[in-house]
């Protein structure tokens, strides 16, 4: 079976973002199990592991305020245990880890644009899609996807960026960053906000002002399965892509919609993630010169997380049957 080379961007410091134990779902073990699984995988020979770089301030401030970045850094240095809400546990090294998690996307984009790879997966934490301009939320501190989209536009001149987010939860932070921007399309498939954290991502929200039409929320009822996702992809996601015609593609890959993950009421199987990998590859080939950037968001049940990441990367790197 011919397989495309995969680049995984990761760093040991991302493991040192300590969320305090006590069963906190966003645990360093998430990265350990993924690395273990990929090491044993038939994909292993195709994987090149690369380090990230810390995201530079000039790119962070395209999304976050100076005041927030300062407050975040101060909170870690002062030895406090959380930022903005007890959910967002942190430690002394969390700011450094978050810079690397956001910088992973930037390093990956340089590799994609330089022709070194066409499939890059940032296996980093903390995750990002709930983080707002001035607010840490839902275990997220820096909005990795939003920073990556701005970098892609401003450092590499790819104006039209599409972000497809199939984490089980709505990426409120990404939506607010680009709601008024016609050049970044944010599309999210998530569990319906009536039931799900963070209670945002209504179907009726389609963007504001000049950005009208470049936000698309697809809320799925609790219990939704693989078929529901594939139906939404065929009927809503693919038409949105062909209308927008992106020049760059970011996938926010959360694996918490898995039936075994109790952080959502969705009922996806591991097999869905292979199909999602095929979709991302197909869109990349069709619109983005074969290049796609994938960022790890959620996914907290360790066994299904590792298996689903492997399945997704398999779909991304191998041809569709």
């Amino acid at each position: 079976m011919p397989t495309l080379p995969l680049t995984v961007i990761t760093d040991p410091l991302c493991h040192r973002h300590d969320t305090g134990g006590n069963g906190h779902p966003e645990d360093p073990a998430r990265l350990t199990v993924i690395a273990g699984r990929l090491g044993q995988s038939p994909l292993a020979p195709m994987i090149t592991t690369m380090p990230p770089r810390p995201a530079e301030r000039q790119w962070l401030t395209t999304v976050h305020s100076e005041e927030y970045l300062y407050r975040f850094e101060e909170t870690t240095l002062a030895g406090k245990s959380y930022l903005d809400h007890p959910d967002n546990q942190l430690c002394f090294e969390s700011y450094e880890a978050a810079l690397l998690s956001a910088g992973a996307g930037l390093a990956a984009i340089d590799l994609l644009e330089g022709g070194a790879t066409s499939r890059a997966f940032c296996c980093a934490r903390p995750p990002g899609h709930h983080a707002e301009r001035n607010l840490a939320l839902g275990f997220c501190f820096l909005n990795n996807a939003a920073v990556a989209a701005r970098y892609w536009q401003q450092a590499h001149g790819r104006r039209k960026v599409m972000i497809v987010d199939w984490d089980a939860h709505h990426g409120n932070g990404i939506q607010s960053a680009f709601e008024e921007d016609p050049e970044v399309f944010y599309l999210s498939l998530h569990e319906h906000p009536t039931w799900s954290f963070p209670g945002t991502g209504w179907k009726e929200e389609t963007g504001l002002g000049a950005g009208k039409g470049t936000t698309c929320n697809i809320p799925l009822p609790p219990g939704s399965d693989d078929a529901a996702v594939m139906k939404a992809i065929a009927e809503q996601v693919e038409p949105a892509l062909s209308r927008f015609v992106p020049e760059a593609l970011v996938i926010c890959a959360g694996f918490d919609g898995h039936v075994a993950d109790d952080m959502s009421g969705l009922s996806y199987t591991t097999a869905l993630y292979r199909q999602l990998g095929h979709c991302a590859a197909r869109w990349a080939e069709r619109y983005c010169r074969g290049k796609v950037l994938t960022l790890l968001e959620g996914g907290y049940e360790l066994n299904s997380l590792a298996a689903s990441v492997e399945m997704y990367l398999t779909g991304l790197a191998t041809p569709e049957p």
């Binding site: 809400h85 939320l137 839902g138 039931w195 954290f197 209670g199 109790d262």
Partner: protein
């Protein structure tokens, strides 16, 4: 739950002598749908709605001449000629429930809010009611999630839930229990938590003996 907190103020009331075109312009410019009409002493004597005003205008299928005559007539007609003289009111200390019952029973779109002296101090519309309940139920409150719990039938379910959540320092903002009825085959508890750590919520509820359910609905095929 008091109307005073949710009504639209200041109340824009018009004198009974105001002409129909003037009232129409005022409604359109302010995007209102209801106007209280008051007498010289500020006492409420009627209500005028955008619908009352629309029906006062001549139909566009009439001849140009007839329309002209009608419009000239309207220019001289005060709102008192077409206002509704039977109306329903609430006071600032009425509750959202009072307003809901009145709006529902009387099929009106808004209720003037009167102080003890009968002076109009605000207006409370169906829109205000929707906004009030939206806030009360925490709809769209960023950073929360709703958990559905089966009532296990044992005594003091709400006490047990709040105790275990507080013990685990899980923030929650709403706890609602709905009895079994035609629409619901089991007594159900709705819990709005202010955290993303839903695993911790589920574990705490399990510890208190509750079963967290995934809300589903079976729709009959069309």
């Amino acid at each position: 739950m008091f109307i005073a907190r949710y009504m639209t103020t200041p109340a824009l009331a018009i004198p009974q002598e105001m002409t129909i075109p003037a009232a129409r312009e005022l409604l359109q410019s302010r995007h209102f749908r209801h106007l209280p009409v008051v007498d010289d002493t500020g006492k409420l004597i009627g209500m005028i709605t955008d619908r009352d005003l629309r029906s006062a205008y001549p139909s566009s299928v009439l001849s140009g001449e007839t329309i002209k005559t009608c419009l000239a007539e309207l220019d001289k007609t005060p709102v008192s000629a077409i206002m509704t003289r039977s109306f329903f009111t609430v006071s600032p200390s009425s509750t959202l429930d009072d307003a809901l019952i009145l709006l529902d029973r009387e099929r009106v779109g808004a209720l003037p809010v009167l102080d003890e002296g009968g002076k109009v101090v605000g207006i409370f519309s169906i829109r205000d009611l929707i906004k009030a309940y939206r806030t009360l139920f925490g709809l769209g409150e960023r950073g929360s999630a709703m958990i559905v719990v089966e009532d296990d039938g044992n005594p003091k379910p709400l006490t047990r839930i709040s105790r275990v959540l507080e013990e685990h320092r899980i923030r929650f903002t709403r706890l609602i229990r709905k009895d079994k009825d035609d629409a619901l085959d089991k007594a159900t508890i709705y819990l709005r938590v202010n955290t993303y750590n839903l695993s911790a919520v589920r574990n705490a509820l399990k510890e208190a003996g509750f079963n967290v359910t995934i809300p589903t609905i079976t729709l009959k095929p069309e």
